[in-house]
Every structure is written in C-alpha cells, then in structure tokens.
Symmetry: C3
Subunit: 343 residues, 3 copies
C-alpha cells in the first residue's frame, strides 16, 4: 500500500485484508470500551472544500479516538488558493504543519494532484465524481462483519445492488473492491437510464464474478445475502423522466414488504447514506427502522474503526495500539440508537 490513500485501484487483496484486520482490532476503542493515546501530539489537517458533515466528523472523531488533534477547514475555498496559490504550494505548506491530511474537493483528480507535492499521508475524502475510498472500505468491512456475525462464508455470496447504478460513486467503488474477493454472485437492478456502466461490469466479470442484470425488484430474491440500495436523485433523470419520477422509482423501493416477501430472514440491507426520507423520495424505506435486517447504522458506525485503521496504517502505529489501551471511564450507553436491535 502506498503512503497515501487516494483510490481503491491502488489496493490489492492483501491491503484490504490488512485494513479489515486492523479495523477489527480498533473495535474496542471505536465502541468506547477502551481509550488509546498512541497519536498523542499528532495533528490532522481535515480539509473539506466541499460540505460533507458526516464524513468530516467521522474522520475527525476517528483521529481523536487515536489520541490526535484535528484542524478543520470547511468552506468552498482555501483563502490562499483564492489568491492564485497552486495546489502544489498549498500541499507543501500543509505538509509542514500537520501529520496527516484528509481532503475532500469537488473536482475529480484534485486530491491526487495535491498529494503529489507532499510526503505526509493524504487520504482522499471524496473528489467529486471521482473516488471516496474510505467509504468503499467501510462498506466491505461491514459486509465481512455481517457475514461473520451470521456465520456465513463470504465466498459465493449473492449481492443485490439497486438504485442509481450509473452515477452512484459508492456502488462503483464497492463493486471494484469486492471484485478482489473470491467469486461472488452480483445482481444489478436499476431504473432505465441508470444502469451500471458496461466497462465496470466487464472488469468485475473478468475476475470470475457472476453478474446478472434484472429489470426490476418484482422477482424472487430469496437467496440474496446483502442488498446495497442507493439513492436515486431526481436530477439524474432526463426532463421527461423527471415528470414521472415517482412512478419510475416506486418500483425500486426497498422496504419491509420487499424483504418479507422477496428475500430471506437474514438478508441485510446497506445504503451509503444520507437516506432521503422526504415523502415521494422513494429512497430506502423508514419502515425498516429498528429491524435487525437494516444494517445502515451498523455500516455508518463501522466508519470509525475503518478510518482509525486507515490512519493507524498510514502512520504506522497499528502494532502500537494493543500496548496502549486503558478502560473508558465515562458512561457509554448499551446501544447508540434507541431502536438498535439486539443481534
């Protein structure tokens, strides 16, 4: 694994397995039973040139839980960039201030360009339509944890990806990362016009995975192990399709009825969040709240141990953690959510 985390394309199976293993060792800290101070004195530059409160706080909290401090920057521009400063200069200057950098930027490729000027580890926190590797890693980590919990092997598993498979960045990254694993069965269901790009399908298929496309959710999915649902954004439709947005998307809603009738008792549901809960949005249904099959909050919780693992790995402290654990002294609730099911 290189000294930055810019794209999942730079990760091989060993690197992914290593990060999953470290994330597992971070769980006692992420679940607030233990405290470590291994990064005490280290400073993270958390540079968000595009709003993403969830991702920013997740990285921030992960770094703090390792004992480090965080300098946040939010807003659409770095003030010196507005004066004509190059990404090269900004990067080199920041590298002199902090020990690691997370950068989110609306322009594809800008994070990689930024990383070229510094030897301080840079993590891509999302570069527009480009990459968001920590999301893909926490998704794969979630899948491996859920399979382990259910006592099922991942090899040969059946995944259903549904929603916007054309523009959904997370689902592209996820399928690329999954393609590193032992052969899987992957079924794709999307509204017309929002299909998974063919080159990506070919790439995954060429690695021995079985990809199947089905026209709708009105089918038998009783052997599906995981559903990964993504939000369909109205603005992705053509003008004429936008008018019939509700009818077109209503057939792609994953809800309790779909799980009960079409899937099996242990099928679990993921989603990259945010979930659009407004009436008519036809996103993943809120009627699943509290249902153990809804894994979306376990998934977002997993962002903390995975991001801790990424920091620990890039800063080479993964072997230091176990030597430096103390018990948490403050109150930690049994579950973080009021509706979290007992598993």
């Amino acid at each position: 694994m290189p000294s930055h985390l810019l794209s999942i394309d730079a990760l091989d199976r060993d690197a992914v397995d290593h990060l999953i293993r470290i994330a597992g060792r971070m769980e006692p800290i992420a679940q607030r039973r233990k405290v470590t101070r291994v990064l005490e004195g280290a400073v993270l530059g958390n540079l968000f040139f595009e709003a993403s409160t969830r991702t920013r706080i997740s990285f921030n909290a992960a770094f703090c839980r390792l004992g480090g401090s965080v300098c946040d920057t939010t807003g659409f521009t770095f003030s010196s960039m507005a004066k004509g400063e190059s990404l090269y200069d900004t990067s080199r200057v920041m590298g002199g201030y902090v020990d690691a950098i997370v950068m989110r930027h609306p322009e594809q490729g800008s994070v990689a360009e930024f990383a070229e000027a510094t030897r301080v580890p840079v993590i891509n926190g999302g570069d527009g339509p480009g990459e968001h590797p920590s999301q893909a890693l926490l998704d794969v980590y979630t899948i491996t944890k859920e399979f382990a919990r259910l006592g099922k092997p991942l090899a040969g598993a059946h995944l259903l990806l549904t929603g916007d498979l054309k523009y959904g960045r997370t689902v592209h990254s996820l399928i690329k990362l999954l393609s590193l694993f032992d052969p899987l069965r992957i079924t794709l269901v999307s509204p017309p016009g929002l299909e998974m790009p063919q080159p990506l399908i070919d790439r995954v298929a060429s690695r021995g995975h079985r990809i199947e496309i089905r026209p709708s959710l009105a089918d038998d999915f009783s052997d599906v192990d995981v559903i990964y649902a993504t939000r369909i954004q109205r603005e992705r439709f053509t003008t004429e399709m936008t008018e019939s947005f509700q009818e077109l998307t209503a057939d792609y809603v994953v809800d309790r009825g779909f799980l009960d009738r079409r899937c099996n008792a242990s099928t679990f549901v993921m989603h990259p969040l945010p979930r659009d809960s407004r009436p008519g949005a036809n996103d993943l249904s809120v009627d699943l709240n509290g249902d153990p099959r809804l894994a979306i909050f376990r998934q977002t919780d997993n962002g903390i141990p995975m991001r801790m693992a990424i920091f620990a790995h890039l800063l080479k402290v993964e072997e230091e953690i176990d030597r430096d654990l103390r018990d948490v002294r403050w109150y930690v609730p049994e579950t973080f959510g009021v509706d979290d099911p007992a598993l």
Copy 2:
C-alpha cells in the same frame, strides 16, 4: 435527571442542587488552577445550526477542560439534511461517532426530536424560541454563588427582572428554575407590551413565590438583592412604538445612577449577554464596567463550571474528577478582565 438535558422542565430541585454542587467542585479546573483528563478519549459533537459563538466556545472549552476532544459544526445546515436526511437518521449517525452532543437549532422542538433517536446524551444549546437550559442553570448557579459570597441566604431574596420579559427566553427559563427554590420575592418591570406572560406568572406564584409588577424603574428598590436585566430588541415593538423606541426604553436602563440612587450597596446585576453597547440601544449601561455590583462577567465565567458539571453528570464522571487533578503549569493571570474588581 434523564439521560439528555433538553428542558429545565425535566429538572427537579434535587437535580438542580446536584448540578450546582458539581459545578462548585469544577471551579479549580474552570479557574485554571487544576487540570483533569477524566474525559480523555471522549469526543463531543458540537452541532450549531444557528450562530452562537459564545455558547459554542463555552461548551467547547468546558469539554476540553474535562480532557475531551470536540468536533465543531457551524452553519445553517447539516449537508446531509439538505439532501433530505431526517433528524432521526442524522441523530443515530452522530450517536455512532461521538460520546455527547450539544445541538443548537433555530426551530423549537428540533433538539428534542433529534434526541429521541439516540441514547448518547444530547444537550439543548438553544432551540429558537424554545429552551436553553444551560443558560438558566448558570444563571441560578451565579445567584447562589453571589449570595454565598455576600453571606446572605437565598430564601426570601428579592429579585428584580427588567427589560423584555415577554420574548426574553432566558428570563422565562430562569424564573421557572427559581420557582423550585424556597419562596422568593420577584418584581417585574417591563415596557408596555413586553410584560411577562400571565400563565408563567401564575405558575411561579402557585409555588409560593410573591410576584409583584411595577410600571417603571422610577421607584424604591433598596431591598432588591439581584437585578436581572435583559436586552429590549427594537424589532419586538410595533411599528408605531419603534419610532419612539429610544424614549420608551430610556426609562428602563439599569446604570450606575439607578444602582446608587434606587438600590443598595450589595445589589448585583446580571444579564444574559450579549449587551448592546451601541449608542441609543438603552441596554445595561457600560458605566458599570469595573463596578463590583456588575456580575455579568462572573456570570459568563460561571458558564464553564456549570457546563462542565452538565457534561460530568450526563457522562457520569462527577465522582472521578477529584481523583484526577494535576496543577496547571502555564501562566494564569490574577483576573481574566482588566477591570475585574477585587471581591
């Protein structure tokens, strides 16, 4: 006391006394003679969807002084809420990231709705016209500290509340909290149209307190122990009254002359701040700066120990603090303000 702090209505006398007692034990840390690290490793999510620099920094500093780390969010929207995410989802996600949440939001009830989805302690940092319980608690803490300093019993004390008693959120919360204490004498003075709502007066009176309404400050207040002055906002007046804002409000200004002529030597003055010092604002007068009777900066200083107490109580570390104190090693001035009077 419940696991959140959303409204002072949920507090009984025991809970208030307990918080006041813990706040007192926080003083050596708040006054920077001692350092504790009891919350080392804990993370606060400080979510300010409405600007309030003072309150945000006060909560932030209080959490840091207990040894924790803070993730700040400022700005009018949480980026994922803009994409249709429900308060339920946002709350559950944040609960997976942090150990305590302070939330300020312009909409009444939104903080309570947010708190319903998570078991992580949520503190209401102000929800529009709704509640701001930590302000009321620090106000009551200030009153008890000042009475103790002056060697006077609180029971039977005479309080003068003046200014905007209709819209002033802090004065409503304060009077509700004070109503839990032994019978007091409370005098209300406000410009016409800005009177304290009658249901609130009835509620306090029903608990045995003696409430008196007087038309103006041109009276004898020589037995008043505390004056709580609030800012009168020009936009609260009707159009015709706005034109005569200066004349109408000039009669309600608390200044050195008023204290000297109408009150007694130990009457002290509080104010929720900010104080409008612009010419013609007719807010609490700056001619009291440096006067020991002006308690407004002691009051704002008290925000730190009270907010530390709230965190310590909700996170159940109040009994851990005394075991974990070290001396401060850096320079701390004798007083924080240049005009702070010796008391």
Copy 3:
C-alpha cells in the same frame, strides 16, 4: 515583553533573541521527533474574523503540538458582535473561557482594542493593513537559521527586498525587526509607485543600516545573501498602469535565471506566501521548486516553532518544555515535501 503580542514595535532585541532561542528549542517537537504535553488542559481561542487558512492552521497546530486544545472561530463576524456587543465585552467574555487568544481582524487597531479588556494573552494574527508580528518573527527566525546553516555571520549581511514594498505589510514589519540587529546592507527594488515609504527607510537608516535603492533587477547582485520577494497585486496599480501590468512586473520576477546570472550560489529566496502561480502573475517563479536556494517552504515550516515559542513565552512554560519530552511513535517522512532538497 508585554503580556500580549500585538505589534513588533513592542519588541526589543532581547525579546526577539529570546523568542528565536525558544523557537530553536521547539524544533524537535515541530519536526515531529518529540512530543510535549506541557499545555495539556489549556485552551486556545483562535478567532479569525478574516479568512486566512494558513495562519489559522499554523497557530492551531502550534498550540496542539504544545499539548493544548483549540476552539476555532472563522467567518466575518462574531455572532454577538452583530447584536451590538462591544469588543470590550467580547474580549472579557472570551478571556473567561480560554487561556490564550489569537485574533485576526480586517480592521487595523481592532486586535489592540480587544486586548485592552483582558489579561489573557492576545496575539495579533493580522489586523488588516496593520500588524502581523508572528510573520515578521518567523521571517527573522528563518534568516538566522539559514545564515547558521550556511556558516555565515548575519552582521553585515546584504538583503535584497523586492516586489511591492509600498503596501506589503510583511516587508515593513520585517525591515523594522531587522533594524534591531547589527548593521546590515539592505537593497530595495520595486516597480515605480510601489516604493518603500520614506519614513520607514529613514527609521531603519537612523539605526545604522545602509539602505540602497536600485531601479531594477537588471544589475549585479552577486553579493546578496537573502532575497525577500513579495507579490505585486494588480489592484495596487493605477488604472493606466494596470493595463501594462505584465510588462511592468515582468522585470521584477525572481526566477532561476536571475539567481544563476545575477546572484551567488548561496543566495537564498524568501517570500511571505501565498505565491501567485497563475500565468501572467509574475510572482516568484515556480522554476525554483526543488532548488535548495528556494527557502520559502523552510520559511513556512518555521512558523510552527516560532508560534510555539510565542505561546510558550506568553504562557511562561518555556522552561518546562525540556522536562516533558517523549519520542514520537508515528511515522514521520524524511522530508515533508516531495521536492525538498537535501541541505
């Protein structure tokens, strides 16, 4: 040295030497070989009422590297100031929350006014056209470090200041600070209309320094030890000059060719940054990137130890640091930049 750092005019030679000496002792921490926790429990209020990401993060990181915590405020207004709160009140309130304050504000004099109300140390992080003392101190620190590295005495050194010498705040502060040192030779080169103000020249000359003005860079500078280049802002020119901005400024560009042909092998180049790298900006050339004579990133790196020294001095912990050092446990790259030359 007073209890605030508001202007370099308040510094004498002893104070500057003291800060340079402390900064030197901060190097192992700033270069991330050692960790200190001497300010553990202390809180910095980092109040930026004007955007300056670089300066804000530099102060923030410096305070964190001493073990403290930081409350950041960015944006054009402090919310309570918008409601008419005076700088006096804001300052006194903040002084009750935090242990040190860095303030940047667009209005000249506002930071000094703010500092008048509190005994908590206030550092001027830039007040519009006014002062930015930490920049001048890190510039002088850089010059002394570079001379020491080159084995040359500073006394009698020859400095070339070029670019906008009229409006460039940093170059004014630098020359004032340098005037405290043993006699130097200072050559000034600027486009017509952007000359160094005469009173400043007189002040420096009166302290025994030899000041020379030359019309352009087309000259022999082979005995120059340091070049301090500043950005020429198009908006500083008169309308008619703006039209010929490119021709007028092209003669004042410091680049590799200028250094090779007109200077000597050890002449090094400084710049306050940001450097405008857009085509036609005619700022310090990027063709020097990676050249050991380009000292601009060593200069910006020096902001960390100098700002640590300022905090350590104002908070009187400079003698505590050496007793409290631990080894860094995380990965630190050999150099922070990919192009950093071996020296």
